[in-house]
Symmetry: C2
Subunit: 351 residues, 2 copies
């Protein structure tokens, strides 16, 4: 039996909160019966929902909050005025050790700002990164940063590489994960200064990392490497471009099957195969973006997801907790800097 894990939940975050959130917790409970939940939000709205799902009443503790963070709120505004919000208090539960991780489907920028402020960074890491899984022709790939940092220097990219590598080993269980740096070509001369310097650092460093070299946009879904490292501007646009392309393809497919009577007939027989593809590319399956590098586990669910997607985000947080991701990262970084040198400095050879 798994040891009990407590996850704090921002019950008011997300387009369809709190209904979607509570139902998501119910779905997560089916798969993860050992997990307990601290639910932060409006008790008058959460109570009736829990009454509908008596099976999770025993694993949920409600912490009433009057306030919540809107999807439009600016991060700076939330930092100043949001200390009584469901999001803030849910994050604070992790900082206080009452919960092992927090999941929110709320405002991404606000969640990142509050998490950084309340949880602080892991020692030796300058910037947090948002990481997520992509489906590939070979299985799955981790990509980071998906949007936490629009400007990244080479040191940031090297840190992301280390954080991604540890995730692939600790959580995905890969023995020697390969790391690729996203670029516009595979040759050394290609790219901007940040990726060129980061590649040089990763190649020359004594970091125990299997650095593949540069990868291109098509390598993400191609599964060329286990971990794709990029800045948050490019990563966010690549993620959303892939999502948009899946939507385009499935729209074209639908139109194709509606274009003639024969095609409509064909759909009846093809439905099963097409549903398989839909399941494999379903963004809800990949819901749950991890904020890596923070001194505490924080996972962001897509704001527009449903209960199934939210349950997956809870699963992502539980995995990070269960595999002791942050302890692993701490140990790696301790090992890498015997003389108080940050791993990125070490990698850049400026020790």
């Amino acid at each position: 039996m798994s040891a009990a894990v407590t996850i704090s939940i921002d019950a008011m975050g997300g387009d369809a909160a709190p209904d979607m959130v509570v139902e998501g917790v119910r779905m997560a409970h089916e798969r993860l019966p050992h997990v307990r939940y601290l639910m932060f939000g409006d008790a008058s709205r959460i109570e009736p929902l829990l009454a509908r799902f008596p099976e999770i009443r025993g694993v949920c503790t409600i912490h009433h909050t009057e306030e919540s963070v809107s999807m439009e709120a600016k991060p700076s505004q939330v930092l100043r005025q949001g200390r009584k919000s469901s999001m803030w208090l849910a994050v604070e539960a992790v900082q206080k050790g009452e919960a092992a991780g927090i999941v929110s489907a709320g405002n991404t920028g606000a969640l990142m700002a509050v998490s950084k402020f309340v949880l602080r960074m892991l020692p030796g890491i300058d910037r947090p990164a948002i990481a997520g899984m992509f489906p590939t022709v070979k299985g799955e790939t981790l990509m980071l940063d998906l949007g936490a940092n629009v400007d990244c220097n080479s040191n940031n990219l090297v840190e992301f590489a280390v954080m991604g590598e540890v995730y692939a080993r600790a959580v995905l269980g890969l023995e020697k994960p390969s790391i690729g740096l996203l670029n516009v070509g595979s040759e050394d001369m290609k790219g901007n200064d940040a990726v060129k310097a980061a590649a040089a650092a990763l190649r020359d460093s004594h970091l125990p990392i299997s650095f593949y070299g540069f990868v291109e946009g098509n390598d993400i879904c191609g599964g060329t490497v286990d971990v794709v490292v990029t800045d948050g501007f490019t990563g966010n646009i690549a993620l959303k471009t892939a999502e948009g392309t899946v939507k385009l393809y499935s729209t074209f497919l639908k139109e194709g099957f509606q274009s003639s009577l024969l095609a409509k007939f064909g759909y009846l027989f093809a439905r099963h195969a097409i549903n398989k593809v839909k399941v494999r590319t379903d963004p809800r399956r990949y819901n749950g973006a991890m904020f890596l590098g923070l001194n505490g586990i924080a996972v962001k669910s897509h704001g527009g997801t449903d209960a199934f997607g939210f349950a997956n985000a809870v699963g992502v947080a539980v995995e990070l907790v269960t595999h002791g991701y942050n302890d692993r990262i701490r140990k790696e970084f301790d090992r890498l800097k015997p003389a108080e040198v940050s791993p990125s400095q070490l990698a850049a050879g400026t020790r």
Copy 2:
């Protein structure tokens, strides 16, 4: 009847050159009988190919060259040593007025470097951009830059917006094309300094441009705007991510149809609909990346394409010539700077 147009061809560029190139010209000839070709390359290899296609013998003139540019050559090396190559001489034919445009499936970096050096920029434009068409749920979208400039400032982005806008009006025939700036979110505060400054300039400027604002990765295939403007690093990665995602989806679909006997049976009926999707997302249909901003028409075909793809790239060059794209750009820029101010300065309000 259309007026005669002459296009110069780098017959030695591309993975399967010159065979693929000559056959591509034959396919282009079927659709564009008024076009004549100057074919630069190894005559001993081109002659036998033309002998196989007597129908294009009369519209092709071979210019023998001993040298060609390899796919691995560095642009700087080609600039120093490539003056007798098929690529260089094909570009030079445009500069000399012997051809109205050049098409090559060769080394992208070298073609850009040679084109910039030989053709020079259009007056008032600082940097060329690579532009290409994307399929969308609503039709097609033009995106630029797809890789010419890995680092772009806000002035470059504003220039790309103008070049894209003129293309959409002059070649696509849109009356008031909408222009979007690719970013990680739609709010004003989102993004790096370059996109924020470019958005401010496009919003405040007196440029006769219909500026939509920021768009995100999913808006590319979503067809939210007619023209998507971005830097060459992000644009190249978005393009290749979309290509990789289409490949992923079609691989999953294939696997779905092979997963059971019923599914295999279903494929027989669904084949027609699926082929329609393949045709609509076929990268060969969108082959032909335009180098905009140069004082001469230059189009880059994908190096790994086939004759059908190359013929489309020829078609793209002919369209640019026929619609007098460069004259239109020249006029727009003249109109925009009555007092020797570049349009980007004008847009930035620094006049």
